[in-house]
Each structure stands twice: as C-alpha cells, then as structure tokens.
C-alpha cells in the first residue's frame, strides 16, 4: 500500500465519536486529520448572563462521563471569582468525589473499551464465561465499577452530574452507615484491582514515541484537584498562569480546539500523572504494585492503560483512609460574595488536565467563560502518534490491520469526544 487516503468511520469503544483521515503518498503518511465531529453545544456562550453559582451544574452537561470533574472544576473557578475559600472538610469530599469518578471511569475504559483488543473480542460482553480468566474479568469489571459508583453516589449524590457539590462546599454529607458500606465495598474490590493491574502490566501492546507530558501535580499526595501545572521538560506554573503554558491551535477540519506547549505537542492523562508524580502515590498502593511502577516514567502510550489501573488502586487506598480516619460530618457551605472577579479552576479529569475560566460582574453573573478539555490538548499528539504508527506499518500491512491498530492506539488515549465535541470515521485518501 503506497498511495492511499484512509478514512476510518466511527471509532468504536471510546467516549463519543470522531472521524480520521490519513493521506498516504509513496508509502509515507502525508497528513493525519483527527476530526472531532460532534455538533457544538455552545456551553461557554450559554453560561453568559447566568449566576456563577449556577454554572457548575450547566457545565457538568458538557460531558456525561467526566461530568463530576467538570463540576469540581467549575466550582473551583466560581469560588475563585467570588472569593470563597473551601474548608479542609470540603476538600476531603472533593478528593473522594474525584476518586469515585476515576474508579468508575477508568474501569469502564480499561475493561469495556481496551480489554477486548487484548483478547481478540469485538465486545467485552462477548467474553466467555466458561473461560476462567475471562469469567473473572467480567465479574471484576462490574464489581469495580459498582464500588466506584457507590462512592460517587454517597459523596456527590450521583456518579453522573453530581448534585451535592456546590460553590462553598457540599449540600449533603455522607452518613456513618454509608461510609461503612463504602469502605466495605472498596476493600472487597481490592483483589480485583490488583488483578486488573497485573493484566495490563503483562499486556505486550507497545507504541513508543518521545513526547512531552503535562499534569497538575499536588505538593503532598497524588491527587486530582490541586497543585502546580508541571511538564516533563521542567516547566512549572501556578494554576492562575495556565495560559502561559498553552497555545491555542485552530484545526479547521475539527470542531474541537487543539493546543501546543511552546510550539510542541504534549500528552495529558493518567500516563502524564504517573510519570510526573508516581512518588506521591498512596504508600499502600506503591507497596502492593512495586514491579508495575518500574515501567514509569514511560513514553509508551499503552502504559496509559497501566497508569489508569494503578490510579484506580490509589483512589481506592486513599479513599478508604479518608473514609476511615477523617471527619466528614455536616457543615454548611461557605457563602459566596456576589462580586466582579476572574476565577480559574484546574483539575485532573480522568483523561487529563481540565481548565475552566470564568469572569463575573459585580452581581456575580458570568460575563465570559472558557473551557479547555484534555482531549483537545492530546489531539495533536494523537495525530503524530498515528502518523508514526502508520509509517511503521507501511508498505506491507493490509488496510484492515492498520485500521485496527489505529483504533487500538486511539483507545489507549481514552479520548472523550463529548468533551472535545464527538465521533470517529477513518477516510483513506487513495490515489
């Protein structure tokens, strides 16, 4: 295959949808266009004129699967615009909210999206219950997801579009019985999580290309809601200065915005977080998975799957510690001041760094908003990886195999097109 225009329709087993166009001339890739084709829903316009305190619930609707990360990020942005400092108890509940989200979301990606490729299956539901290993994965997947779902529901009200978090705190706090049940469920799934880590550690998929990594890195323990923005080339900036770190790139063929850092592509997500902060993982997590951690830092994109599996264990171990040891009793939310201001929220969503920025007028109403999502930041890096992958497979690999390998690689990024926008289609341009 020397000259071809490849068109991949409907990349499956990802969040949302996109199309891909690969142009090949003289057995070399000329360009890769990853087209995020979901119709824009104009959330940053829709929040204009609305009270900043109401914005988190609306911005949550940008994405179902990452919704609780959008809630956390928008709450943080609104609090900073309105001069609210959340209490230590609120911060604990926010950590727990992100832990419930990541357990549920990573398990969905790892089992239902990524694992069928490892077993040559079209769907996770096609796994054979009479095969001991596949039977175990089926049960582990739904047990882990259910425990994450329970934690999210207990702490945040729902695992999708959480109802309890609000500007200044939480509307409702977990009760003793719920806390006890959450600890029980989380402890019960720990062996399953260790099996999941072992499965992805042994996976021999590999695609290695030097690139840069970026993440919000906390100063104390590994987490998803505070810290400095750090990149693998040594840059560090505060959350308020995130714009110094990112350059907006317009890709006319895609409905989403792309970004570079100092003119170069970069990657955000679990691989970036574990590369940059593996020394901050929960001690019990690090102790239990020693050999798996030796893979990091890594530039192999398939280690994003292993990094997600490790994060699930960290979320579980730290959540149990907080639930068992910390005070989570009821307290009223801090009352915001209705004032003019600028607020920036930064969190690590399951797929990478998420930024919300809002400006308010003197009545606390939003005058302007901006949202930068992880998949937009990864878009150029994904395109360069796909070009490298296809160049490595040309000229002797058949089209079907190349398409499968491209989809597999894209799935390793765990992209979220709902956030960025939506849908995958490869268009082969053959001449």
């Amino acid at each position: 295959m020397h000259t071809v225009d490849l068109s991949l329709d409907h990349i499956s087993k990802i969040e949302g949808a996109a199309s891909l166009e690969v142009r090949i001339r003289d057995a070399k890739v000329e360009h890769v266009h990853l087209k995020i084709m979901e119709y824009k829903r104009f959330y940053t316009r829709a929040i204009e004129g609305k009270p900043a305190v109401a914005v988190p619930q609306l911005l949550s609707r940008i994405c179902g699967t990452c919704s609780n990360a959008h809630v956390m990020c928008a709450v943080e942005a609104a609090e900073r615009a309105l001069g609210v400092k959340p209490s230590p108890k609120t911060m604990r509940l926010r950590h727990l909210t992100m832990y419930g989200l990541n357990i549920r979301d990573h398990a969905l990606h790892l089992y239902l999206f990524a694992m069928p490729d490892m077993y040559g299956k079209d769907s996770f539901l096609d796994f054979d219950e009479d095969d001991e290993e596949q039977h175990q994965h089926l049960h582990d997947a739904f047990d882990i997801k259910a425990a994450g779902n329970y934690l999210s529901t207990l702490v945040a009200g729902r695992s999708v579009h959480a109802t309890y978090p609000t500007v200044g705190g939480f509307m409702k706090h977990p009760d003793e019985a719920g806390i006890g049940e959450a600890v029980k469920r989380l402890k019960e799934i720990r062996p399953a999580v260790l099996r999941m880590i072992d499965t992805f550690r042994k996976c021999d998929f590999s695609f290695d290309r030097q690139t840069e990594f970026m993440a919000l890195v906390p100063s104390d323990h590994f987490g998803f809601i505070d810290g400095e923005i750090v990149s693998s080339d040594g840059c560090r900036v505060g959350e308020q200065d995130f714009r110094q770190h990112l350059e907006h790139v317009v890709l006319p063929y895609s409905m989403a915005s792309a970004y570079t850092h100092e003119g170069k592509e970069f990657m955000v997500g679990a691989l970036a977080r574990v590369n940059l902060a593996k020394d901050k993982l929960h001690p019990q997590t690090a102790e239990s998975i020693g050999p798996a951690l030796e893979a990091f830092p890594s530039t192999d994109i398939y280690h994003n799957n292993l990094a997600q599996a490790i994060e699930v264990l960290h979320c579980l171990d730290h959540a149990v510690e907080i639930l068992e040891k910390e005070d989570l009793s009821s307290e009223p939310p801090v009352k915001p001041e209705m004032r003019a201001g600028v607020g920036i929220g930064v969190v690590e969503a399951p797929r990478g760094t998420l930024y919300h920025r809002i400006e308010t007028d003197d009545k606390g109403m939003v005058t302007r908003g901006e949202v930068i999502v992880p998949t937009g930041q990864n878009q150029i890096n994904m395109e360069r990886d796909i070009a490298g992958l296809v160049n490595g497979l040309l000229p002797d690999t058949d089209k079907e195999t190349i398409e499968f390998e491209i989809e597999k690689l894209i799935r390793a990024y765990d992209p979220c097109m709902s956030c960025a926008s939506h849908f995958l289609k490869v268009n082969w341009d053959e001449a």
């Binding site: 499956s12 119709y39 179902g64 699967t65 539901l125």
Partner: protein, 171 residues
Amino acid sequence: MADTKKETGPSGSDGRIRVGWFTFSCCEDNTIVMTEIMNDHWQEWKKIFDFRHARVLRKHNVLDELDIAFVEGAIASDAHRQELEKIRERSKLLVAVGSCAVTGMPSAQRNLFSEEQKKEIEFLVARFAALPEVLKVADVVKVDAEVPGCPMNPETFLKVVNEAVARLKGE
C-alpha cells in the same frame, strides 16, 4: 414522520431481543448510566439482549432489524435526521432516553440565544451544516416511550425496558 416496523416477537434467530443504542448531540450521560445499570444486570442482559448496534460496547455494529432502539441526544443536523429516520424504519420500538432526546435541552440551548449570541455562533453553525434549530427526537420520528431526566432515571429506564420486553413477547 418515518414509518415504524410492525411489532411482533423478538427478531433474533437465537430468541434474544435485538437492541440498538444510538447517540446524537448530547453529553452521553445516559450511555454512562446504562453501563452503570449494567453493573447489576449484565448477566441477565447478556442472555436476553443482542446488542446489535452500540458503538460504546462493540466495533462491528449492524443496523438491520431491531426490536428496541434507544436514542439519546438531540438532532442537530440533516445527517442526524436521516440517520434517525433510518433507525425508526428498522425498529419495532423506539425509546427516547434522557433530556436532550426527550426535550432537546440542554443541547438545544442555542435555540434560545439572543440575536447577538446567534450572530456570534452563526459561522460555526454554517461551517458544519448544522440545522438552524436543534430538535428533540419526537420532532423527527414517532417515539414509543420516553425516559426523561438529565441523566435518565435508572428506575424509569428499567421500567420502560421491562415493559418493552413484555410488549415484544406479547405478554
């Protein structure tokens, strides 16, 4: 309105009910809730449902004869409208799931923008050939059942599923 298929028993040769899960313009919250409901029901669903078309669950999807089509999201383009009509023609029952499918909102929020806001987004609406106004599913095809909510309510979803299964079995 597109034609609907005649309701008879399940179409699958293995006796399972053929199900499709389709997503249009939305945040896919109902897809996530469906995969969460699956935590408790996957063993039963594996036995009774053949997921013929569900991109979130499989690569090889077939849009042939469906017993139940679940549709989430609002209709934002002519391509969406045509695809939805095709789904309707090939499905015995069509269920709209979630707020965007049932009411259009919040995906249809640009319908309510001020003239000034509409002007600002005009070039993007034109560039990607979006419809002038975003539609709910019932604006385009006949809907047999609705599961409202943002996201859909899991109990209502299970009730609608059970009713649809009973209807298909002629109970």
